[in-house]
């Protein structure tokens, strides 16, 4: 028996999920710094000490939320890319689709977004489990660039000498098969994409940008250009 579990195990899975759901709700209400085990327990009709059967500490619960958030935005990005690819879209359209999806996810889950791309939670240091899920979006973008490179190529000017060793290292570390100028451009574009989304989600565009959808689409196009994805 591997799939059919006893009542105890099923209950455990359900309660764990309920705790995380309620914690996400609390996150959306008050932010990560104020996330409280007691409040979560209260809302679930449990006594606060009962949560310790599921998470050994508040930080472990936070970690679970962080991993879930990375997985959620990562899955959304991967699905968007898959849909575009299935529809026969060229790399540039796939890039734009992923950018739009990242933005849409962030606007739908602003507090989870803040949890993973905002200022770090003070006193909390992310454990190793978060590394792999954290890179799913960036990996999706790398996949698109790889496809583009293997297709009609990527048009980027050569790097300044000062950046060449670093770009070579990046390429070897996480972007094998891409030219080094593309690796460097991709990391910059990814940071810039998060900057654009953060400004919108964190309210820095108040009184500055009104038609944010149009603005973002254009900016995402510029980012595509910056990594060598020309319109076609």
């Amino acid at each position: 028996m591997n799939t059919v579990r006893g009542a105890r195990e099923r209950a455990r899975i359900e309660v764990t999920a309920a705790i995380k759901d309620e914690a996400r709700r609390a996150l959306a209400a008050d932010g990560a710094a104020k996330l409280s085990l007691r409040a979560v327990a209260r809302e679930l009709g449990m006594v606060s000490s009962a949560l310790y059967r599921y998470f050994p500490s508040r930080d472990e619960l936070l970690t679970a939320l962080i991993v879930d958030a990375y997985d959620s935005i990562g899955a959304a990005a991967e699905e968007a890319d898959l849909r575009a690819r299935t529809a026969g879209s060229p790399p540039r359209a796939r890039w734009l689709a992923v950018c739009e999806t990242v933005r849409a996810w962030a606007l739908e889950h602003p507090h989870e977004y803040a949890l993973i791309y905002g200022s770090p939670v003070p006193g909390y240091s992310a454990p190793a489990d978060t590394i792999a899920p954290a890179s799913r979006v960036a990996d999706t973008l790398i996949g698109i660039l790889r496809a583009a490179y293997e297709g009609r190529g990527l048009a980027l000017p050569p790097l300044p000498a000062a950046l060449r060793p670093e770009a070579a290292r990046m390429t070897a570390d996480f972007a094998q098969g891409l030219p080094p100028e593309t690796s460097a451009a991709l990391v910059a574009a990814w940071a810039q994409l998060v900057g654009l989304v953060s400004f919108e989600v964190f309210g820095q565009f108040n009184r500055v940008v009104e038609d944010r959808t149009a603005f973002f689409s254009h900016a995402a196009g510029q980012l595509a250009h910056g990594v060598g994805l020309t319109s076609a």
Copy 2:
């Protein structure tokens, strides 16, 4: 008498500054969410209720720190631009100088940076006093673009139709005298600059970018290109 003040007034100025200094230290230790009036008072050897002679509430103290942070990074950016301009640097070099200064300030004051460009503090909403200081850096960048435009011009492709009304509005609102495609590109570049700096300050470049200075210089150059500041 306007400049020479009584002992009471001078003491008030000094104590207010001491409170803010200590609060900044607390900020650097534990972050904005955990900033506590009692801890600040304790550290200053005062009783916590005494702080209420200087700040009517915790939020007002936070607001003062936010205004100071905006003014500090704004002044740094303005000074860097002034130095470059005085040295006869062309607009592109001025742009790069401001970008580097923003990065340097952020690395020197990571928690103050997080306060103004990180995730918003939950439950806190910024009052109107923060609006003017918040725009000093962006205004500096606008000034550079204006100088460039009035000099040899700016080379940017025309905007897609969907963005033209929004770009016209932006230009009228805060970037008079610039062509609309420049206004739109500037806002995007500013958000992207903050994205690059945030990734570095918030630790997202751990295990990804090692030679961060070289990487940033290159990325800042790309941003300059994105607003039409060609090398020269």
